[in-house]
Symmetry: D2
Subunit: 364 residues, 4 copies
């Protein structure tokens, strides 16, 4: 790390994820906020004006950001940026991110558009930074020397996959994963879910969410193949995954009930599972990344934890909380997992991915 | 049915379940509220005085009940009652219900104490009224000519087991059932769950609840054996059941995500499952019981239903709502089910059980 | 009342207020649902199709309404209707309601557009049906022999003004009224308020609401003048009114804290105020209107009542609940009042106004 | 300030307020947690054991506190403490705090017991630290050379009185204050309010709360008299105060609607009021106290602010937020004010009072 910070930009800066990027980047030791992009209706305004009435964070707009100009999301305004973070909605994200990459800019995107792209890594920073190794192939395929797109996972996938990775590392491939989520409203953006749907109520459906968990899990837990030019999608050890997703009246924090079985039998005991989760460490920690959690997975022993409101801020929202680890009468082990969907489940993943990329030399 | 109503009593009349009994029985065509019982601190007061500050229903105390005297829960005060409904807490329920039965009174209990008793039927009225046939054996074993105890199921079990019964009737024995519940706060009584645990939060644990679902399901779906003197607990076709239970910020209505597989393969399609649920009818309907729902299982086709606040009052809370029926990538079929935990999940079950018993001649 | 029901139409039938009209009118002894109107995107569809995904009531769509055709909001499709109820948004309400009146149709509107019109009565059915007497002047001014527009009040005004009317009837003109409201989310329609604004939060502002309370109160509590051709707006006894309005996380039911002082001193005691409220009866009751509450104002004596969830359904939501009547250290008396904003505060007011008009001969 | 920290104790350490004390004192530059007291059922345990199942903070128990021993609340165990903070319930607070003072210990109490005591100051740290000047008289009256009791205000009073103080400083005595509160559930402790009373509901009553606001305001805004031996209770300029208090489904943050009138007319304009609030500075700021907010009163200009969830963490919860400043049609000016009831409304007030006492020499 040099003394000179890397200039970074934020696309979709006035949206819910964009606001989180701004809070995280406003006092970052490596990155320096240099350019903000939003829709054409915001372009030309100061950030304060553009976000007026939509800033929904518990901290004020950072003072140095209030008067930064907002640009349209075109590469020219971001040419000095060593990294561009995208909090764009899936509508504009596809063409905009492609244009930025084409302009040789490095995009770390929270949008879903390129997650299934065979050239783009889908990286949960606590799980699979090894997938950065496909970037040379991405660049070569597109005849770029610097630009790339790196995506991070859907917020509900992220909370489940960190403990799954720890279990595969410790006990070999998983055979079956059953997941039921209870997802916070902040995952739907603003205005997002109507209060009439969320007071004294649950909505047992989130469009596309179950498919994301079932698909993304395989890409993330799988490896690279063909000399780092393709994803193996866990194909060497097929895994059956079933997800049921619900929207619940919680502000932040996705809680999921998970049951798993292992290929290798006899399966580990709940105590062995707890120990494997507790002792799991990830590359982001070893590299000393600024936003990495001190403890990747916090294992709770109180019977009624983790709980969204009480545990989502632990580790500054960058870790995962697991509890109620016990035997499953049907599969091997069941447990509950909590992720802060607006932190590790969104902006923190993008920022941490960029920190890892920096440490590994992909930003130079 | 004669013109003369059957006098009935309510034990635990000032509690949450007792209040529901009172609302349901205050204008019932067959039963007539004749005696109320509560703890000794309430005994001697009028009902209005005894329940002061604790009446939490959306309708006022029925006018004819306001000034009824509250008795201690001793059989003598209930000697005229043809039926006694128990909404007692599990603490007093054990000895009190036994004493009432010993005094030759017929007890329909919502408490958990005798659910696992080898003499007492555990009856979900939409599922297994055939279990009333063990009553002659219960009476004989205890040398009683009239008294008995009939229990109904835990509220979370009830919502899941009605569709399970419909599936077994249509497609033969189930092999695996996986359930994750999202349970309303009213299931915990009053004051029950602290608001600090339920605003912007979920508690992923309810003491004893998972074991109840896993155990009760087998007794209810199983049959009688040994000439109606014992329960077979589904032993002829072992079923694996795994439950995860959560408390969520919803007032009334337990929502559960269920995945099932069948013994017989190939399994029915989601469309066949939907049709089997929709066309399921139960004995309570055929007998013309007053509180029976017109439709036992309402199948919803909108992608985001059933929802607790919108659907819990359908069928006056006496039916079950099922939606999102679809293939499960791991088991055969998955779906979502909703039960009104304070109606069919509690008082309505006891009342409907008594109506069925009346129609079948067990009250004469 | 004859045996033949009066055919009625509903404008804005797919909206939140329109859905309430449909529930109330689907089994009405005097009115018969005959025509439904909505935006051009809904026109031509069956009601079931048009409202798909937006029906947010706790009861299913009435079976006889499911397949009724939805028309555009043009008078021709409603020519057989003796009454047209309008649940239109304020955008279309202005020109549409005028066109219907111009076509000699009788419009009972829940919209705000004509509340301040010097020809249109603003009638809270429990308060000022005497204002119907301006209708001959409205018709004459517009050269119509049948058509008119009658409005009802804003939902928050309605809950406050019923007790104010009872107090003026008993103790003469009020001098000062101070109101602070805590208003339910259903008052904002669907999708209305974002859940991110309403979970663990209050929004201390509702656009235009304070002005409505402050202005409408004078028109409603005032009389007619100049031979029933104008409203006196309470001008003979000026009243000072100050309102502060808040949106709170409650589904239905607007609760308000009110302090008042009287012109005439010494002021009545809290006990006298309670008695005046309890004994208040209104013309709708005397006329025997179907939707009139048995008790116009229910006075609660428990210290912590009325509460929205517990008391909003009393009297089928057609009455007002008042509690905590006590001396005010600054003004004379203070109390709390609750109105069911979607019932008496909206659709019930329109329907009850039409019932009164029918009884008084304004529909013939 | 010396390099050696002052040892401090916490009474009621396992309760809701006690937990907040522990979080604030675990990394304090002047105070060092040295002794913890709780009920006899907790005494003898480690803090971690004693608070098990009741720790409801969003941060873990500070590591250095987990294994601290919990003592009974007797002075002997706290003899080394230069300051003792009391988060005791009002039941034990009376005799325990008296015994600690009698043992020459300095008690800063959040309990209500001694707020109305003629010897004890009631200090809101942003308002009236001048009341410390009664301490010599308190000590002399009780023949103590070190011990005293200092109280801080009720949480709802605190949020209202900071802007009132700023207004009296700028524009002279207030004549009338009308307050309606919407108070968070955390103000009632744990388990406190039942979730059945707080989901989809408001409780328009908090026992004793209105009287506290009406009484405490006069003591705090008043001065000392008779050579610093008595409180004048604002008697030179009588003020009329009326409060209505409501419990609402918000976790933290008391929001209040306030209307005021001034003795001196013409009254200041809303703009002048806004400027006076914005520019208000307090002695705690001037003394450079660690926990003092940078901005005592944050004035919001967005129409819909302050909101509890968005603004309660500003200034680390140590300041007050005011918005919607506008003319009142009845009194002079009305506005909305928000206080973080668990921070400035409770533990932060006690800690900041002790910091002020330290700076002013009352701890030496």
């Amino acid at each position: 790390m040099t003394d000179i910070k890397i200039k970074v930009g934020v696309l979709g800066a006035t949206g819910t994820v964009g606001q989180r990027f701004i809070l995280q980047l406003s006092s970052h030791p490596v990155f320096e906020l240099a350019a903000l992009g939003a829709s054409s209706s915001s372009a030309g305004k100061s950030y304060y004006e553009a976000v007026s009435g939509r800033w929904k964070q518990m901290h004020p707009i950072p003072s140095q950001v209030r008067n930064m100009p907002v640009h349209e999301c075109v590469p020219g305004a971001f040419s000095e940026c060593g990294v561009v973070f995208s909090g764009l909605d899936s509508g504009p994200a596809g063409p905009v991110e492609a244009a930025f990459r084409e302009a040789n800019l490095r995009v770390f995107s929270n949008a879903k558009n390129y997650r299934r792209d065979p050239l783009c890594p889908l990286i949960v920073p606590l799980v699979n930074p090894s997938h950065f190794d496909i970037l040379p192939h991405q660049r070569a395929s597109l005849s770029l020397d610097r630009g790339f797109i790196v995506t991070n996972a859907n917020c509900s996938t992220t909370g489940v996959i960190v403990p799954l990775k720890a279990l595969e590392d410790a006990f070999g491939p998983l055979d079956i994963v059953m997941v039921q989520t209870m997802q916070a409203i902040s995952g739907a953006g603003y205005p997002g879910v109507s209060s009439l749907d969320m007071l004294d109520n649950i909505v047992p459906y989130i469009s596309g969410e179950e498919e994301k968990i079932e698909w993304e899990t395989r890409k993330i837990l799988g490896g690279l193949k063909q000399n780092n030019t393709a994803f193996d999608l866990h194909e060497s050890s097929p895994m059956r995954i079933s997800a049921q997703c619900n929207r619940v009246p919680v502000v932040d924090g996705h809680l999921s009930c998970v049951s798993v079985s292992f290929k290798k039998q006899p399966a580990p005991s709940p105590e062995q599972v707890a120990e494997a989760l507790r002792s799991y460490t990830c590359e982001a920690q070893k590299l000393g990344c600024h936003s990495a959690p001190a403890q990747a997975i916090t294992v709770h022993h109180e019977l009624d934890r983790p709980q969204p409101r009480l545990d989502r801020e632990w580790q500054n929202g960058a870790g995962v909380n697991v509890g109620r680890i016990r035997a499953c009468p049907v599969l091997d082990v069941k447990f509950v997992t909590l992720v802060n969907n607006v932190m590790l489940g969104a902006a923190t993943s993008s920022v941490l991915n960029a920190e890892i990329a920096h440490k590994k030399g992909f930003l130079s």
